[in-house]
């Protein structure tokens, strides 16, 4: 006799359970809040809004009887997904986060113009949001996104290595920076070989920064391609000289953005250019060999740069958009208003977000928490994007980088490289 308990499973029981379960799920049961706002963003946008007791959106959720469901992706996949969702007949996403160098006219047309909403149901003290960032989100006269985060580039340096090399203060001009980089290309006391500077070779912002240090640019806001070739040549000459002297690593052509962080943390490089927001990571005692010793200043312009033409660093900004095919645009706008409020902007800044409001930088809590707040605010005042959005921007950037790399590693003269940039990128420019 079998004494194990028998589990009987009849066909009727199986069918009943299946049909009942399916019906219950089809009824779309509500477990928590009445509404859900689906947000398509990078993980960092969710993180800076806090969780549990530190949830900056708790009051909004309660007032709107709504929950927020974040779908997060890495930056490029996120943009790809956002544009695809916005191209459908309808989408479940109410709010998406967009990078300021993406909205061409075609892309901007996928999103709700916010001008009218900003007038009829205004955002708190809208003028407090950095005008340059708002301008970057205005396409064909339509405001399509509300800025929410920026990453402004600064010059980071390892103070301990500077002291070891007998350098009393960080550079104030590009020429001093080059001199210090050469001096700091040495073997440190700990036996670590140090290069003066590390820069990723696959990002346009670095050569653009060096061109701007001489008053030049790659593509201006009004789509002038290399408006001052001589300034671009001077910038690339500096990079080439640094590579030749070893002040840029021999692995320059394969160096990535993450290498900049690890090299600085390990004391393998003395200088790099990164967003100010990386300060905490670079000084994180769990990752860095130099916690508290890695500092940042504004990237210096050349001594030859005219006094009335301040060095324009590079800023990348994120903004919140509402897809035109979103279902509940009122809820989406309500979320955007709340995230853009002074309280939430400051709260996010304290959680590591680059604040888009000028007033946030004056807040004592932020000044205490972020020692770079003041310098970052100064740099932000003159900063602008690496280049404006246009359909062929990605290809133009890749072409420019190809020529820059050839020039830096000495496979092409700087003059020829700049001429090639102009020749090859011209057909890609918007009419």
């Amino acid at each position: 006799m079998n004494d194990r308990s028998a589990f009987t499973f009849t066909r009727r029981g199986f069918l009943g359970t299946t049909v009942g379960g399916a019906a219950a799920l089809a009824a779309n049961p509500t477990w928590a809040a009445g509404k859900t706002l689906n947000v398509l963003s990078h993980k960092v946008h969710q993180t800076v809004l806090g969780t549990d007791a530190g949830d900056l959106m708790a009051a909004w959720k309660s007032a709107n009887d709504a929950d927020i469901s974040f779908t997060t992706f890495d930056s490029n996949p996120l943009q790809d997904r956002l544009f695809r969702e916005a191209s459908l007949t309808d989408t479940d996403y109410g709010v998406g986060y967009i990078i300021d160098n993406r909205p061409t006219s075609d892309i901007a047309s996928l999103f709700e113009p916010l001008n009218d909403l900003a007038v009829s149901d205004p955002i708190e003290d809208f003028d407090d949001i950095a005008h340059g960032l708002v301008q970057g989100m205005t396409v064909d006269g339509n405001l399509i996104g509300i800025p929410v985060r920026h990453a402004t580039q600064g010059l980071f340096y390892n103070e301990a290595l500077l002291e070891e090399a007998g350098i009393a203060a960080p550079p104030t001009t590009l020429e001093e920076l080059v001199e210090q980089c050469n001096k700091l290309t040495f073997t440190s006391k700990s036996g670590t070989p140090v290069t003066g500077m590390i820069l990723a070779s696959d990002l346009a912002l670095f050569p653009v920064m060096f061109a701007r240090a001489f008053g030049g640019d790659f593509i201006t806001k009004d789509f002038q391609l290399v408006p001052d070739p001589a300034a671009m040549e001077k910038g690339l000459d500096v990079l080439r000289g640094m590579f030749e002297s070893g002040a840029l690593p021999r692995s320059y052509a394969t160096t990535k953005n993450d290498d900049q962080v690890t090299w600085l943390q390990q004391g393998r490089a003395a200088f790099t250019v990164l967003p100010f927001a990386r300060f905490a990571q670079l000084n994180n005692p769990e990752q860095s060999n130099f916690p508290g010793k890695i500092k940042a200043i504004a990237f210096p312009g050349s001594a030859t740069l005219a006094a009335d033409k301040p060095m324009a660093s590079i800023v990348e900004a994120w903004a919140m958009v509402i897809p035109k095919n979103a279902k509940d645009k009122a809820l989406a706008w309500s979320y955007i208003k709340e995230v853009s409020s002074k309280r939430v902007t400051l709260g996010m800044a304290l959680n590591g977000n680059g604040p888009v409001r000028v007033s946030s930088y004056a807040d004592p809590a932020l000044i205490t928490k972020n020692p770079l707040a003041e310098v970052e605010a100064q740099v932000l005042a003159n900063a602008r994007g690496a280049f404006p959005p246009f359909p062929e921007a990605a290809r133009a950037q890749a072409t420019m980088l190809e020529e820059v790399q050839l020039a830096v590693i000495g496979r092409k003269t700087v003059k020829d490289a700049v001429a090639s940039i102009i020749e090859r990128v011209t057909p890609m420019m918007p009419a």
Partner: protein, 277 residues
Amino acid sequence: MRIKRLIIGSGKAVAVTALLLWSLLPIAFIVMSSFKPGREIFAVPPHYIFTPTLDHFTTLWTRWGVFFDGLVNSTIITAGATALAVIASTAAGYAYSRNSSRFLDSSVLFLIVVRLIPPIVVTLPLFPIVNALNLNDTHVVLMVLYATFFVSLGTVLMRTFIDQIPRELDEAAQIDGAGRWTILRRVIVPLAAPGILAVAVFVVVFAWNEFLFAFIFTATKAKTAPLVISEMIGSIDGVDWGVLFAASTLQLAPVLLFVIFMNRYLVAGMTAGATKG
């Protein structure tokens, strides 16, 4: 003669060692780094001796809870896709093995051609269709897609396996009154088990690691672990390498153990029909 044998033996040993180093070093680096204190991961010169820590796994648990949801989703999708692919491949392989016609023979070629199409070509046009069917962000859509992409290879593999099973066994079963379905279940499947396991290994490895389809067709509910890892790599506020390596180790371990365990079937699958006269 002896010297020649010694030289050949040494050459083989060097080649095998180089191959092992080439394939195992990156894995060893990832696994070791997941237990290293953050500051030592990229230390120059590298630290081979270190005090192991579980800090990165703890941080992964507390800050990236979504990764563990991703592992659960990956498991469900992999299991479903494997079951679907194995069932369809076995049935199709049986049909191809035991039947012959001009149409069937030419369709084998079509099966192989289907494998040559880059997934991205079918992915984007599928997005609005999947969306219209309300299948976006469901486990089912990935199970079906993964299975679909492997049924062709699985069918060819299974046909080769089933070809090796004597037709006399089918005929004997038929005389005993068995139908096609019974023959498949009672005769073919038990004898073709190594082939089924080989197909399963291929599908499991593919489905567990797949990124493109998961990226296009999921959002939150069916998000798989590789997608979460890609988010860690692309963090705009800095990559936490220790946590990333901890996640990679957890992502790698199950499939690595599975492949090691099933290794002999995998070899059988790859060499099926190789000696057929």
